[in-house]
């Protein structure tokens, strides 16, 4: 009886270990998939105004007013490096470096600026060529802002 119990325990532990190894050997996928250069395609509110059927693009001025606490509103291109460094840049040469981290199985993207401030974005979707980020604004009636980026390199 005891031998059977020990064999069962060893079998269950072995299965769990193999399963765990398999799962965790693939769990870094979001960290791999995000590496590369991404270009902002759109900034839209998650909720429309009553009279709008198509989601309206948030213009430059509005971006500055709703996201002035975030560095990302100033840049169009995001380059995620493998060493957890991100370069935010524009064609005119304006650059900003920060540290990036993913949390909660890749559902949260955290940027840590050189001055220690942190910005947290929710990763709504991460596909081969498309990254959709959400962040909450103070404009509660309009809710969340959705940033869509396309991979360019």
């Amino acid at each position: 009886m005891k031998t059977r119990l020990y064999i069962s325990v060893i079998f269950v532990l072995s299965c769990l270990s193999v399963f765990g190894y398999y799962v965790f050997s693939h769990s870094h996928y979001p960290e791999k998939a995000i590496i590369g250069e991404w270009k902002e395609v759109s900034w839209v509110y998650d909720r429309n105004n009553d009279n709008e059927k198509v989601k309206q693009e948030i213009d430059e001025d509005e971006r500055a007013s709703i996201a002035n606490h975030l560095v990302v509103h100033q840049f169009e291109n995001w380059t995620f490096g493998p060493e957890k460094k991100i370069k935010l840049h524009e064609r005119n040469g304006n650059e900003h470096y920060a540290k990036w981290l993913m949390k909660d199985r890749g559902r949260i993207l955290m940027l840590t600026n050189p001055d220690g401030t942190q910005e947290v974005y929710s990763v709504e979707s991460l596909k081969k060529n498309e990254l959709v980020l959400h962040f909450e604004t103070d404009v509660h009636a309009r809710g969340i802002v959705k940033i869509t980026l396309k991979k360019i390199g």
Partner: protein, 276 residues
């Protein structure tokens, strides 16, 4: 607190166990939310995410959540196996093994987090797995020891039960029912302790970071030692009282029996031996 099992437990035993483990669960859950952005003391959210990942077709993400659920399940399973296979002689040892394993999990997470953690997703997911296993151990132990009276790692069911019990207390007949009153006190204490644990963890984690798991481990080790010493002392006391009682009974018996004439008893014993 740990030695007694099921119906032999008093309200005080369950209250102490509930309050202490709820503080631990609250501390661990808040610490894991701050450090890993993930809950580790409750599974309802993970089940919802599990279903969502299946619906979205994110199979590896789904497997990670499924593995977490299995580990919580495994922790509870292991705790109960140890409790139901214990006997009176090894009760304390069997009941404290899940807590010792929990301490090892916390110390492991603390050491890894303090010295090796690079904040990668894989590391985070493994550390969350370890914490979920430890919370499974704790929930299984408390539920098993207390005959399902005490569950401290999640508050959904407890909040519902507390609401039901409080509504029952609006009637006089239930207010006079000691079992209902005690259960209400127990649940309210667990809820309060969980929140206190969470607040303490939220306040100290910015200074201690991963070292908060050492604090939890030290508190747990302290409780095991305290419970061992207390139960050993009370066992010694009971044994001493039993010896004294036996002596008293034998003294009373010898003074109450009439004196026998010499040789009668001896003769009887001899005749019985001869007949055999």
């Amino acid at each position: 607190m740990l030695r007694r099992y099921s119906n032999s437990r008093s309200f005080s035993d369950n209250l102490k166990l509930g309050v202490f483990t709820a503080v631990i669960a609250g501390m661990v859950n808040v610490a894991s939310v701050i450090l890993f952005y993930s809950f580790t003391s409750n599974l309802t959210g993970h089940f919802a995410v599990f279903a969502q990942e299946i619906a979205d077709g994110k199979w590896f993400q789904m497997l990670v959540v499924f593995f977490w659920i299995i580990l919580f399940f495994g922790g509870s399973f292991l705790s109960n196996i140890l409790v139901i296979n214990s006997n009176k002689r090894n009760a304390f040892l069997s009941h404290s093994i899940p807590m010792v394993l929990e301490i090892l999990c916390f110390v492991g997470v603390g050491i890894y987090g303090q010295f090796f953690y690079q904040e990668t997703l894989t590391e985070t997911e493994i550390l969350v797995s370890v914490l979920l296993f430890s919370m499974g151990l704790q929930n299984g132990l408390t539920a098993s020891l207390s005959n399902f009276q005490v569950k401290t790692t999640h508050l959904t069911g407890l909040t519902t039960d507390l609401a039901l019990h409080l509504s029952m207390l609006t009637k006089k007949e239930y207010r006079e029912n000691q079992a209902v009153v005690e259960k209400t006190k127990l649940m309210a204490s667990i809820m309060f302790s969980y929140v206190v644990g969470g607040v303490v963890s939220g306040l100290v984690i910015h200074y201690f970071q991963f070292q908060v798991f050492y604090l939890v481990s030290i508190a747990m080790a302290g409780v095991i030692v305290y419970d061992y010493v207390k139960s050993t002392l009370s066992t010694k006391k009971i044994l001493k009282e039993r010896v004294l009682m036996r002596e008293q009974i034998s003294r009373l018996a010898s003074s109450a029996l009439p004196a026998r004439p010499n040789g009668i008893g001896q003769h009887k014993r001899q005749s019985v031996a001869e007949s055999k």
